[in-house]
Symmetry: C2
Amino acid sequence: MSSQQNAECCEPTLIEALSPESAAELARSFKVLGDPVRLRVLSLIAARKGGEVCVCDITDAFDLTGPTISYHLRQLREAGLVDCQRRGTWVYYWIIPAKLGLLSQFLDPADAVVTSEA
Amino acid sequence: MSSQQNAECCEPTLIEALSPESAAELARSFKVLGDPVRLRVLSLIAARKGGEVCVCDITDAFDLTGPTISYHLRQLREAGLVDCQRRGTWVYYWIIPAKLGLLSQFLDPADAVVTSEA
DNA sequence: ACCTTGTCTAGATGACTCTCTAAGCAGCTT
DNA sequence: AAGCTGCTTAGAGAGTCATCTAGACAAGGT
């Protein structure tokens, strides 16, 4: 948990030459976002008032088996996009906004950086 | 060309319940971003002064065959992330910023929307 | 102690992805 | 027109992914 590597020299953005290493790392995150089920799971969590959702609520929202939802949650977890905690019988998931913000800024560095005008 | 569907009712963001259709469409875009080669190609184009890059320059930057680069460029094209034009012998590619901005805002709606505090 | 319910892991399978080689088209140049 | 270079398409193969069923683990209730 809490392994955001934001302590590097600077976050990469699209308008800078991207090293193969940064590209590989970013691609891993975007690949996890590249599945409709995972996007809907993320959205379901993000839209929830308390910011937390029980796995059973997620499973109920899809026509998929428990193990399949569990698989997708693991992908999201390993990508650092969500984290979870067991509380008694149930396991609750929540979003890690910093990670999403990082990816967002990579795609649209205009927010953070003055783009290089010719 | 110029098929940005930004004329819909409103762009989806993470903090709103995401319809399966929107999820499928967004996932298609993120999936295309989920490859290190394609990210580096995008970055290479975005970082270029004039905003345009010839395919041969892209091919030179990778240890991959021409057809493989061509395959990735097609993925990017079909996702609406880049567009291209043949000029004489060479084909030039450029980025479609609006599409990237859309994806960026989806991930970090805080820029555009006041997030729902509990 | 046992059963029930919630969640995860293991293993299998069909589908898709990325890469290559071979071949094709487009446009120069001579 | 013949050949060369730049780029794309076609088809094949190795690897990866999403899904399932079966089984295991965890926690609570009786």
